[in-house]
Symmetry: C2
Subunit: 314 residues, 2 copies
């Protein structure tokens, strides 16, 4: 079993690539839910949805979120009715949120609902939210504390960040299958997602970080930092705020207590040499995924490196 | 002030007509909410919406419910996700339900939410739900008790009806403005809506029937029964179940304790003569409203008759 920890954007791309090179029954994806938001009274799980849509080959390539060929008629009407519209939901996408919210209100857990949605979308790969309990990534700014979507979407991450914390993480339990998946994996892969606000919330759920330290499987991360900057989003800024450099060295530092292999972009070839001093294996690849071929190629490379390292570790 | 009591379908047409012949500030519409349903976790008020859409000149003429030029992409996706879809919601229509549900969860009353939605749709006529409390029209059938939409939409009213009752009516209070509106009206009009399940729930809210008996204004009903049959829907069957004939005489009987004027269709001219024995004024008009002109013409006729009767009553 290959286990992937991921957020929504870059991570979903690698997950889609892996899904084409690993059999669905051999892949488990553990997804950040710290970005979840109540919006229009609906429970939105943006990262879970990006992963589901990517696995269904239906993620909008144009937007990088939501469903391809979606429309925004309901959203436009919501604006007319005086409702907030800074967080966009498409007409097709809305069905996911309506179904999720309704199933949750009916008493199902987030992981049960996610499994149901995956099944209905024809996704056979196991997709697990990191926790069935609510964990909310909160961003402290000079203007007050914002939830992640307020910071990321509404403010377009153009505000100073003083601190990041994960409300509810202390009391959260890993979703069923998360710890078992990591412990029994052949290889664990950390997708190229923001180490602070995508992978960070997953690691903040008690038990998950320990399982990564303890597992006999190798742990391989794909760097979301290329050439000293994030491929997308505010990763660089948030890493510096955590005291990590916004470089591949910072990524290594974020995961230093459990990381075996770090895959960095070819652009960071020179820096990679400096990282090779300890036990960490550092490999170079093209990590910029534009086409499905790019995703599959990086997935194949990552998988190969991860399985080799697991063999070496045992 | 002209006060109209109405359900959704035929009633909304007359309301639209009245809105073109009465100034918005002189018209108050009291709407049945017994048909309200929780659907996909949203609070749907079908009759309130039909009235709002009619007043906004945006009610789909083709369907008789929902918004014109709507699409059903979210609905189709909900089917894909295994969710029930026998109750259709359009993509534009969804915004109304999302906004209403969200505002209700925020603690606003149904009448406050209705006023907000009306304002946003450019509707200046006062639209009041009959009550801010939940009243549910329940239909007892051999196969069990159904809510009104299960009976009307899902079963297409093709099941035997044993009884109709209004859950919660005993404890419901009229929405703010309802009693005052009826008491101070120049004329009260009962739209051509189902006497059992559209006007019936309104009359079941304690205080409303008394206000109709007490008001110094005349009360005029437009018959929803033409030629011994309902213009649309199950009114005839439901009236017989209540022990009223499914004729204009049955309509007169349903409202006998407060009705001053009954407007019947030209097709019922002969029957109208028999009804003219007591105090009830019976007038004939074309009550089949196909075009906006039909609606306005019937509205003008009804208004004229109602105001004349109020003058005679005082």
């Amino acid at each position: 079993m290959i286990v992937v920890l991921t957020g929504g954007t870059g991570g979903a791309k690698l997950v889609q690539g892996l899904d084409h090179v690993v059999r669905p029954e051999n892949l488990t994806v553990i997804v950040n839910t710290g970005d979840d938001i109540d919006w229009w009274g609906l429970h939105i799980s943006p990262d879970v949805d990006s992963v589901l849509y990517a696995l269904a080959d239906a993620l909008s390539a144009e937007r990088g979120w939501g469903l391809e060929n979606d429309s925004f008629r309901c959203l436009e009407r919501m604006a007319r009715l005086g409702q907030p519209t800074w967080f966009s939901l498409g007409d097709l996408d809305l069905a996911t949120h309506l179904a999720r919210t309704n199933l949750l209100r009916g008493g199902k857990s987030l992981s049960a609902v996610t499994a149901e949605l995956a099944h209905r979308m024809g996704v056979r790969t196991q997709v697990l939210p990191m926790s069935d309990d609510r964990v909310a990534t909160m961003i402290e700014t000079p203007a007050g504390t914002l939830n992640f979507q307020e910071y990321f979407v509404h403010k377009r991450h153009q505000v100073e960040v003083r601190a990041v914390h994960f409300d509810g993480a202390d009391q959260a339990r890993p979703a069923p299958g998360v710890i078992e998946g990591i412990e029994s994996a052949e290889a664990v892969i950390l997708a190229p997602s923001n180490p602070v606000t995508s992978i960070g919330p997953i690691l903040a759920v008690p038990g998950i970080r320990d399982a990564l330290r303890r597992t006999s499987a190798s742990v391989t991360a794909v760097s979301p930092i290329v050439g000293g900057a994030a491929v997308s989003g505010p990763a660089a800024v948030l890493m510096r705020r955590k005291g990590w450099p916004s470089t591949i060295a910072g990524v290594a530092q974020a995961y230093e207590d459990f990381l075996d292999v770090l895959i960095v972009d070819l652009a960071d070839h020179a820096d990679a040499d400096h990282l090779r001093e300890g036990d960490l294996h550092v490999l170079c690849a093209n990590t910029i995924m534009k086409s499905l071929e790019d995703k599959q190629e990086l997935a194949r490379f990552t998988l190969h490196a991860a399985l080799q390292a697991s063999g070496a570790k045992v």
